[in-house]
């Protein structure tokens, strides 16, 4: 499996239907973007999972540091007023 050690990793995002957003579904190995799209098609859309594919080099993803989780995410915990749950919805509005 020496090929896999030299083929870079790509993150795969699939749009399930028109109008929906692309969702991360996993990763594959490929030597370039063209091959990454083909591999993503062959690995992740075999059961009609999608209508569009995005691929991005895994090394191009910038991730937050798990060690920073406390300062990044915990302050949001007690800010319930940020959820739009305090509005009274008029009866005339059926679908919201």
């Amino acid at each position: 499996m020496s090929s896999l050690q030299t083929w870079p990793l790509w993150e795969i995002f699939i749009r399930a239907r028109g109008g929906l957003d692309h969702k991360h579904v996993g990763s594959i190995h490929a030597v370039d973007a063209t091959m990454a799209l083909e591999h993503a098609r062959d690995v992740y859309t075999r059961r009609q999972e999608g209508v569009s594919i995005w691929v991005a080099r895994s090394t191009d993803i910038v991730a937050s540091d798990p060690a920073d989780a406390a300062e990044l995410f915990e302050p949001a915990r007690d800010k319930v007023y940020r959820h739009p749950t305090f509005y009274e919805i008029p009866d005339e509005v059926k679908t919201l």
Partner: protein, 251 residues
């Protein structure tokens, strides 16, 4: 024209897809990478799907009550009508890719034309299959370019595979009296015109892959008439074993 010619033509299309699908299936679990494993398996399943539709149709035309399974699993070697190219062994990945490119380019030109066949069933099968085949050629063609225009070793291997497989392409376009009649009735395309289109498509790919097109050589096999190379018997032994050992066995 008797219906026998039409049945034979449908079987040629069906068997080429079936046997190549079976061949590609041998890669499952052995491909160079997981992604290629799935890629080859996807192509194999597309081909077997085409074969199922075509064999079912051939069985109906024949009117002897044989279904797709009986035609696939209970016919003898000499009754198979696949082109000899598709029964050639996989050998290495590059060899498999070359065989695939040669066949995909042929099948793409064929299915594009069969969409306007006077035979409505064939036209419908072709309309479905042509989309699959476009992807097959995209897959195999891009690998041909990568390997041909790759390292010294990959180039040498695919050029070698091309030399080895090239003689088998002659059969694809060798016009028989039956082919002329199929063409005259608007069932299938003329083989001379098909060859030209195939050739142009292939030349473009070979140039991009920095590969040299081999010279045409005399040809000895004719799978479409049931005269096969030594490899088909082994494929059938494996493919048909279960139905022959346990007749009527179901999944």
């Amino acid at each position: 024209m008797s219906e026998a010619l039409r049945i034979d033509y449908v079987l040629q299309l069906a068997d080429s897809s079936l046997i190549l699908g079976q061949r590609l299936g041998e890669w499952v679990g052995h491909a160079p990478a997981l992604e290629e494993d799935l890629g080859l398996a996807n192509t194999a399943l597309d081909l077997i799907g085409q074969a199922r539709l075509l064999l079912t149709y051939a069985g109906e035309l024949e009117g002897r009550g044989r279904d797709e399974d009986q035609l696939a699993f209970l016919r003898e070697e000499a009754e198979f009508r696949n082109v000899t190219l598709v029964e050639q062994p996989n050998r290495d990945f590059g060899h498999t890719i070359v065989r695939q490119v040669l066949f995909d380019a042929y099948q793409l030109e064929l299915f594009e034309r069969l969409q306007s066949s006077s035979d409505g069933r064939l036209a419908a099968v072709a309309a479905k299959a042509v989309k699959e085949t476009r992807y097959h050629l995209r897959y195999s063609g891009s690998w041909l370019v990568r390997l041909g225009d790759g390292t010294g070793e990959s180039h040498a291997r695919v050029q070698d595979a091309l030399e080895r497989l090239w003689p088998f392409t002659r059969e694809l376009f060798e016009e028989q009296p039956a082919d002329l009649e199929i063409c005259a009735r608007g069932i299938g395309p003329g083989l001379a015109e098909l060859r030209q289109a195939w050739s142009a498509r292939l030349d473009a790919l070979l140039t991009e892959a920095t590969l040299t097109r081999p010279a045409d050589a005399p040809y000895r096999w004719f799978g479409r008439r049931g005269v096969h190379s030594e490899h088909l018997g082994y494929i059938l032994a494996e493919m048909q074993y279960l139905q022959r050992a346990h007749p009527g066995a179901r999944w």
